[in-house]
């Protein structure tokens, strides 16, 4: 009951905030939603890995960056659009994910959780610095005509291209949910996530499931990386903040709540856009996610102590 009430309160508060922002600066809402789409699209694969393999992949943002580089060179060499390169990139990234799982992560699953954290941290460094070694810290950017498409409602005009990320977030989020609840493999993966030992007893190959789920998550990040390239300049450190923001969203939505991430990312995206919209506070938007993490933690621990 109280859960339902707090959910309703949150929804009402959100609607009120949205209305206030709409009156104050409609573009903030638009850009916030667009930002949220990208954040959610990147965060959902991390939630998948955390929910089923029970690993926080600190190389998550770096994998996004690697996929963007792959797409950049694939697309420019072959002279095709990043969206054409999206599927091949996802396949290559899936192979990379499978390799990372089998060569590294698999061997730390039985070790303390902290070993896995340090391992993926080292992996992230190796990826970003490896790219730095090969391509230097120079940034690459594609200039595509369609990303500057805009629309005008009343007397405010805004870019519409970034709604593609919102669509991607919904597609990934609800697609994954369907996959996990409707397909045989998905159900097996959920079972493994809930109880690996029990799943093994009923004949599910836990290790194989982990490997495929990890590869799937990396492939999804790879696809988002291809989209990421259409809009943003890429450089070796571009992925780092996305690891932290993704984790922030996963923690906020609660482990296992994949579609909840979409709504949590709205809070983060709109809050960041709102702070960017205030002239004096522009530089501070990067710490919004930290404030959200701390607030979430405190709220959680209070709720737990009350129980």
């Amino acid at each position: 009951m109280s859960l339902r009430r707090s959910a309703m309160l949150a929804a009402a508060g959100g609607a009120l905030a949205a209305a206030a922002i709409l009156v104050w600066k409609p573009t903030v809402l638009v850009y916030g939603v667009q930002r949220a789409g990208l954040y959610a699209a990147v965060a959902i694969p991390m939630a998948l890995v955390l929910g089923i393999v029970h690993i926080v992949n600190l190389a998550h943002g770096e994998l996004l960056m690697v996929a963007a580089y792959l797409t950049y060179f694939g697309a420019t060499l072959l002279g095709v659009d990043p969206y054409v390169a999206l599927a091949p990139t996802a396949v290559v990234m899936a192979a990379l994910g499978l390799a990372i799982y089998n060569l590294a992560i698999k061997h730390t699953l039985k070790a303390p959780e902290l070993n896995q954290l340090i391992l993926t941290f080292g992996l992230g460094i190796a990826l970003s610095q490896g790219v730095n070694l090969v391509f230097s810290s120079q940034s690459f950017k594609l200039s595509l005509g369609y990303v500057s498409a805009s629309a005008t409602i009343g007397d405010t005009s805004f870019g519409v291209y970034d709604f593609a990320f919102v669509a991607a977030a919904f597609a990934i989020g609800y697609g994954l949910r369907l996959f996990l609840t409707r397909t045989r493999f998905g159900k097996a993966a959920l079972a493994v996530g809930q109880n690996p030992r029990g799943a093994a007893i009923v004949g599910i190959d836990v290790n194989r499931t982990y490997g495929i789920v990890f590869a799937l998550a990396v492939a999804l990040v790879g696809a988002v990386g291809s989209m990421f390239l259409t809009k943003q300049a890429i450089f070796p450190d571009v992925g780092g903040p996305y690891t932290m923001k993704s984790f922030c969203l996963v923690a906020m939505a609660g482990v296992g709540n994949i579609t909840g991430i979409i709504y949590c990312s709205l809070v983060l995206g709109v809050a960041e856009a709102a702070i960017n919209g205030l002239r004096g506070l522009r530089g501070w938007s990067d710490i919004v996610f930290f404030a959200i993490i701390v607030a979430t933690i405190l709220a959680r621990s209070r709720a737990e102590s009350r129980r």
Binding site: V56, L58, A104, H107, T108, A111, P112, E113, L114, N115, L117, I118, L119, F121, G122, L123, G124, I125, A126, L127, S128, Q129, G130, V131, N132, L133, V134, S136, S137, P236, P241, M244, F247, A251, G283, W284, D286, I287, F289, F290, I293, V294, I297, L298, S301
Partner: protein, 324 residues
């Protein structure tokens, strides 16, 4: 006799370290100073790791200390040496305050929050306007001791000795038992009457204190600070790799790792200006996969106490053997 040998090694090493400036030229001395800075950070990180909490926030508290020192020097006209102490105090205070919230977190949640810390501190300093110097940073009138390389070296060595001392205190007193218990099984530790939050707070504040001091020393030695230079993620990455390679949960481990990797870092930096850090990423991955106890862990046989406990368990039978 064996006891004497155990003390003799570290003492000889310390004596050699103190006398080093008389033996080598300016460049090796500068390299050695950098190694010492990372060594102190690696030691400080290891103190907290013993409680099972991995901090990725070394650069955060290092940079915080650096800025605390510079600002205390410029705005409160504290003497450089005092400002370094103030840097440690500031870092410890901020750690204690943040610890009220983030030490409720465990494992992953704690680690990622600390990973964000360096970024948060950087943003705060970056947007601090004239008080912090903003994006351009601040320049001190002159480095501490007039930039004399020998004295700078001894200053950094002082930080390492402080860190070693602190690490030994955490190893030889009951703090070690408490932190190890928390690391191994928090519930069991709690039911044995260990005040978990208190011990974590002590470890977190102590390790941040050292990181703050080292930050103060580094910035006073270089004579300038910018948000990008003092919150450089390398100050997290290198100490972490050093402690892991040398062997965590020990004092000699981080020292050994820092000596090996610190010298290697200098060499690599000259050979490969871009991306030489890839080596550290790879080292971290390999150490975790193939020797989680590090080099020192390979060399160190099972602790006699652990072996004794195990044989007791074997003899004891009953519930003891079923658990072992």
């Amino acid at each position: 006799m064996r006891r004497l040998a155990r003390f003799l090694g570290p003492l000889l090493l310390a004596a050699a370290a103190i006398l080093l400036p008389f033996a080598v030229g300016a460049y090796p001395l500068a390299v050695a100073r950098t190694v010492l800075v990372y060594m102190a950070l690696a030691l400080s990180w290891d103190i907290l790791v013993r409680s099972g909490q991995i901090s990725f926030g070394i650069a955060g508290f290092f940079g915080l200390g650096a800025y605390a020192s510079v600002l205390a020097d410029l705005h409160a006209s504290l003497s450089p040496v005092l400002s370094i102490l103030a840097a440690g105090a500031a870092a410890a205070l901020v750690a204690a305050f943040l610890g009220l919230a983030i030490l409720r977190l465990r494992a992953t949640y704690f680690s990622i929050t600390t990973l964000a810390l360096a970024e948060i501190f950087r943003v705060v300093i970056h947007n601090g306007g004239d008080f912090t110097g903003g994006a351009e940073g601040v320049v001190l009138p002159k480095p501490i001791f007039g930039g004399d390389s020998r004295q700078l070296y001894w200053l950094a060595l002082g930080a390492v000795l402080l860190a070693c001392l602190c690490s030994l205190v955490f190893q030889k007193t009951r703090l070690r038992l408490a932190l190890t218990a928390i690391r191994n099984d928090e519930t069991a530790a709690k039911s044995n009457g260990i005040h978990i939050f208190k011990y974590l707070m002590v470890a977190f504040a102590a390790s941040s204190f050292i990181q703050g001091i080292v930050g103060g020393i580094q910035v006073q030695s270089l004579g300038f600070a910018t948000p990008e230079s003092v919150f450089d993620p390398n100050y997290t990455l290198l100490p972490l790799a050093m402690a892991l390679l040398g062997g965590i949960y020990s004092t000699p481990g981080p020292v050994l790792g820092a000596m090996l990797l610190g010298v290697a870092a200098e060499f690599l930096k000259l050979k490969i200006p871009y991306g030489h850090l890839v080596v550290y990423g790879i080292i971290i991955v390999l150490v975790i996969l193939f020797m989680p106890r590090g080099l020192f862990g390979l060399a160190r046989p099972d602790r006699p106490s652990a072996a004794k406990a195990r044989s007791l368990l074997r003899k004891g039978g009953g519930e003891g053997s079923s658990r072992a």
